[in-house]
């Protein structure tokens, strides 16, 4: 029981950086110019044709990003997990080196590549590859791929090789072994990889802003815009705060769903 003491700093941290900010978001959502009011909260919440439409599209984009990341990352992680530790360590390092660079800088580099470099390379400098859903997806996948590879690699490399050998001894072919042994055992890695990609993908606003040329609105951009056009005497954060609450609830639901699939909390890779 004495060990509880070590949890206190974490509790203080949680109160300061999670509970207090959440309280302020709720406070500003129902407060316009120091007056308690539900009008803005309610009108934002019921604005289906704008806010909910954008939210739905952001969920779709985030799901696409997550799916593409999973499809690309799983084979990579699987191959890495079967390599010698030293080689695998070096190769996975290569995947992480770009992450040492600032996120916004990387996104701007992609803008330059898509807007100027590739059109120049194919000899059509007037063409542009920015401002489309494809370009936004491409950069989102690039930015979040390492978050998918790492938990998958961790889980896959921890799978006891003797289980695979046993499966082969009992007559299962490699395909059957993969689907009946490896895949089920790697579920915790898949689940935490999905959470780590889906959550930042649904909340992003830099990527649609930079790569989308300002004509590709995702939910994060809506929140950003709501705060940038705050009106009234004291500042009116109600719309932005309400939009944030909706997003927090969405993230919460997706995390709960993910946790439901990941009942085996003891295994590695669990992040949230």
């Amino acid at each position: 029981m004495k060990r509880k003491v070590f949890a206190y700093p974490y509790i203080v941290w949680m109160i300061l950086f999670i509970v207090v900010p959440m309280f302020f978001i709720f406070y500003y959502a129902v407060n316009v110019g120091g007056q308690f009011t539900l009008t803005k909260f309610w009108s934002t919440l019921t604005d289906v044709k704008n806010n909910w439409l954008v939210l739905w599209n952001s969920i779709v984009i985030a799901l696409k990003t997550t799916a593409i990341c999973l499809i690309i990352a799983y084979p990579i992680a699987y191959i890495l997990s079967n390599m010698k530790k030293s080689v695998a360590g070096f190769i996975s390092l290569l995947f992480f080196v770009p992450m040492w660079m600032n996120f916004i800088l990387r996104t701007y580099s992609w803008y330059a590549i898509l807007e100027y470099f590739i059109p120049g390379l194919i000899g059509k400098p007037e063409v542009s590859f920015t401002g489309t859903e494809f370009s936004v997806l491409l950069v989102l996948v690039y930015d979040f791929l390492p978050f998918m590879i790492l938990p998958l690699y961790n889980t896959l490399s921890k799978i006891d090789k003797s289980l695979i050998e046993a499966s082969r001894d009992l007559g299962a072919n490699p395909v059957k072994t993969f689907f009946r042994v490896v895949l089920p055992l790697s579920v915790p890695g898949i689940v935490s990889g999905i959470t780590m990609v889906f959550v930042p993908a649904i909340t992003t606003f830099t990527v649609p802003f930079i790569i989308g040329n300002g004509v590709f609105t995702l939910y994060g951009s809506k929140i950003d815009e709501a705060f940038h056009q705050a009106t009234g005497v004291v500042g009116d954060y109600a719309v932005g705060s309400t939009l944030s609450i909706i997003l927090v609830i969405c993230v919460l639901i997706s995390t709960l769903i993910m946790n439901y699939f990941d009942k085996d909390k003891e295994s590695g890779g669990q992040v949230l």
Binding site: K49, N50, N51, L53, V54, N57, E115, Y116, P125, E126, S128, T130, G131, E133, V136, P208, G212, N213, G214, V215, F216, T217, L218, S221, K222, E225, A226, F227, H228, Q229, A230, T231, V233, V234, G235
Partner: protein, 369 residues
């Protein structure tokens, strides 16, 4: 081995020295930053927090002011009036000086957020053209709280290599021939004003139907847009990546200077003439330095350097007298009376701004969705 190392070091030092000397040579030809009236500034000290638009001052001026007065300047940038308003409203606002536009100043005065300027501390205010003060008087009666810093119009910047017809109407921004080659301006008032003007309405309308019609037209335009931007538009136009763009005259001048194929026009339906004035918000702590800085940027010679550097038009008559014909004769830099008569100033819309904001929010929601 040691010899080799010292040889390399010596070479490197020699290279550095040459670089330093060529640097000096370059600076000999640099612009003249002397004070027009041989002004002397006293030591003031302390700090001065300035909030201004991006790429909106010759940074050399900041260095000179710091050297003259011993004031440490903290210079922050913003991308829209609405962003600035949000920062000024924050209870822990720290700014001593900022450069909002006309309709925002009207609102700031109404909400008692500005310090009345002490003109005895700004003798250089005499340089500002009477004609300009006549216009700014419409949003700051008596020019008590603000002095014009830069001004200009909103118009269409177009690439003459890509657009072969005559550009004289906002209509061309809805022409499907240029799909994917059009830039809209990412700012509530400016973008909606373009649509309002095209429909023949007033840019300061308080008629919700007119705003909604303007919004519908903007939504129809979305598929034709390359993007909706601010400072990034001029780079894109310079590099021939788009054919048409809604821009401020100063951005147009800079882009035209760097790409001779670009031209600027204020459409026949009229446009917005805007002013960015310098104001002292109530949050200001260093009033002495703030006034000194306003006086400093209105020095005829320095204002001339500043306008040459940022390409926006100066309201400073003293500076205009020092500029050559290339500026004065340029319709984009110095619009004619006829052009100006078609343009109007933005006014604060009061609570009606909510109608603009929700129209804008709906417009943005339709993008990519």
């Amino acid at each position: 081995m040691k010899k080799l190392v010292s040889l390399v070091l010596a070479l490197a030092m020699a290279l550095l020295c040459t670089a330093a000397f060529t640097g000096c040579k370059g600076s000999e030809e640099e612009a003249d930053y002397s004070f027009a009236d041989g002004d002397q500034y006293e030591y003031i000290g302390g700090e001065l927090n300035i909030l201004n638009w991006g790429e909106y001052i010759d940074e050399e001026l900041i260095t000179i002011f710091e050297e003259e007065t011993g004031v440490k300047i903290n210079y922050a940038k913003m991308t829209s009036n609405e962003e600035m308003l949000m920062k000024l409203r924050s209870p822990d606002c720290i700014y001593d000086l900022c450069f909002p536009s006309d309709y925002i100043i009207e609102q700031l005065i109404a909400q008692d957020m500005l310090v009345e300027l002490d003109m005895s501390k700004i003798p250089n205010a005499k340089n500002i053209s009477e004609k300009m003060l006549g216009i700014t008087d419409s949003f700051d009666p008596g020019n008590k709280y603000s002095l014009p810093y830069m001004w200009g119009t909103v118009g269409i910047l177009y690439n003459t290599k890509m657009v072969d017809e005559e550009v004289d109407s906002w209509d061309i921004l809805w022409n499907e021939k240029y799909a994917g080659k059009i830039w809209q301006y990412d700012s509530v008032r400016d973008a909606i004003a373009v649509s309002l003007l095209r429909l023949g309405y007033d840019i300061n309308t308080r008629n919700a139907d007119e705003v909604n019609k303007a919004k519908e037209e903007l939504i129809k335009q979305i598929p034709l847009l390359k993007g909706c931007g601010t400072d990034n538009i001029k780079t894109s136009m310079q590099k021939n990546k788009a054919a048409l763009a809604v821009v401020y005259s100063g951005d147009a001048l800079e882009a035209m200077d760097k790409n001779p194929n670009l031209a600027y026009v204020v459409p026949k339906e009229g446009s917005n003439v805007w002013f960015d004035n310098v104001v002292i918000p109530k949050s200001a702590k260093n009033l002495e330095a703030a006034h000194a800085f306003i006086n400093f940027i209105n020095d005829a010679n320095l204002a001339a350097r500043n306008t040459e550097y940022i390409y926006y038009s100066t309201p400073n008559q003293g500076a205009l007298d020092r500029l050559d014909e290339a500026y004065i004769g340029d319709e984009a830099y110095n619009p004619s009376e006829e052009t100006l008569s078609r343009c109007s100033v933005f006014h604060d819309l009061g609570d009606f701004v909510d109608v603009f904001n929700s129209a804008w929010s709906e417009y943005k929601s339709k993008m990519g969705n």
